[in-house]
C-alpha cells in the first residue's frame, strides 16, 4: 500500500482510535527508516532489533498524544536515534567491520530480488553490490550515519537529518560529497584487488 505523505496524519489519527489497518500502513511505510537509523549506528542484529521494537512501542503509547501527527516520520526517526544512542551507552557492541560478510544478512533473510538476481547473469552485478556494501562499512562512522540516513526510505529531510545528527544543514551536502568520494576510493581499491592483473 503506497502511502502519500499527506495521508500520514490521517493514518496516525486512525491508529489512535484503534484502527489496526492504519497502524499496519504506518509500520509498512516507516519501518525502513527506523531500521536504517538503528543500523546507521552500527548496531548488531539483536540491538538493532531492540531499538526497532522500542521505537514502535513508543509510538503505540504516544499515537494519540502526538502534537504533530503529520510529522510522525521525524518523531520515529528521533526516537530511533535516541534509543540507538542509549543502547550503545548500555554497552551494545557495535559491529566490527573487519569481517564485512558478517554484515551481509542476505543469507538469513533472502529478499526476493536477491534470489532472482543471484540466479541470473546478474551475479557479476551482485558481486559489485556486495563489494560496495562492504566498502561502505569501512567508511568512518560519521559517514556511515549520514549516508545511511540519506538512503533511508522514506528519507528524512536535510533539516531533519541536521537535527538528528546535531550538525549544520549546510554541512550535509559537502559531507555527503566527501563521504561518497571516500566510498568511491574504497570501491576502486577492492575492484583493483579483484582484477586479474593483480599479482
Amino acid at each position: 500500500m503506497m502511502v502519500h505523505p499527506d495521508d500520514v496524519g490521517v493514518l496516525v489519527r486512525s491508529a489512535a482510535s484503534g484502527d489496526k489497518t492504519a497502524w499496519t500502513a504506518l509500520v509498512a511505510h516507516f519501518s525502513g527508516l527506523v531500521w536504517s537509523i538503528a543500523r546507521a549506528h552500527r548496531l548488531g542484529s539483536a540491538d538493532a532489533e531492540e531499538v526497532f521494537q522500542i521505537t514502535w512501542l513508543r509510538l503505540i503509547e504516544n499515537v494519540s498524544r502526538l502534537k504533530d501527527p503529520e510529522r510522525v516520520g521525524a518523531w520515529l526517526a528521533t526516537t530511533a536515534r535516541n534509543e540507538s544512542v542509549k543502547v550503545i551507552r548500555l554497552g551494545a557492541r557495535t559491529t566490527i567491520t573487519d569481517s564485512p560478510y558478517v554484515l551481509d544478512r542476505a543469507s538469513d533473510e533472502e529478499s526476493p530480488e536477491n534470489v532472482v538476481l543471484e540466479s541470473e547473469e546478474g551475479s557479476a552485478r551482485m558481486r559489485r553490490t556486495r563489494q560496495l556494501w562492504s566498502a561502505f562499512h569501512q567508511l568512518p562512522g560519521r559517514c556511515q550515519q549520514l549516508l545511511r540516513m540519506l538512503i533511508a526510505s522514506p528519507p528524512p529531510s536535510y533539516a531533519d537529518i541536521a537535527a538528528l545528527l546535531e550538525i549544520a544543514i549546510g554541512s550535509i551536502g559537502p559531507t555527503r560529497g566527501r563521504c561518497l568520494q571516500q566510498l568511491r576510493a574504497l570501491l576502486a581499491e577492492s575492484e583493483a584487488a579483484d582484477s586479474p592483473a593483480h599479482p
Binding site: 512501542l57 504516544n62 560496495l132
Partner: protein, 151 residues
Amino acid sequence: MPDDDELEEELRRAERLLDPVPARLMRGAVDMFAWRTIDAELAALAFDSVDAQSAAAVRGSDQPRLLTFQAGERSIELELTGTAAERGISGRLIPAQQAEIEIRLGDQRLTATADALGRFAVTAAGSGPISLRFRPGGSASWQIVTEWISG
C-alpha cells in the same frame, strides 16, 4: 565510476538487497498494536541512570540501573539489576499505595503486587523492552503504564 547521485542510488539498492528490515520485525511491530493500554495514564521516563553515567557500562555489570517515571502527581521508581540470565526488577509506587502490577519484559508477562508502602520486587529471566502497568487501590482497569524502555 558513477557520479555522486548514481553512487548513492547504488548504495540504496545495496541496502535494500543486503540489509532490509527483517519481515519478522515488521510483523512483530504490527502485532504489538495489541499491547497498547487504553485509558491509562502514561508515566514518562523522567530519569535514567544510564544517561547520567560518563562511560558506556558493560551490560549486566553490578551497577543497578535506576529509573524514575512520572505521571502527574504519581511516580514510579524502578531498579533493574542482573543479566538476562537472572534479573531483578524492583521499585515502588509514589505516593505509597497497594497495587496489582503487570511487568512486561519482551513477550513475557509477569505479575507482582505492590505492598501498602508501594514496594514490589520480582526476579525474571530474558531480555526485551520493559513496561509496567498498575492497578492501584483495587481498581479494575490499568491506571498507570510506564513508557517502554530497553531491557
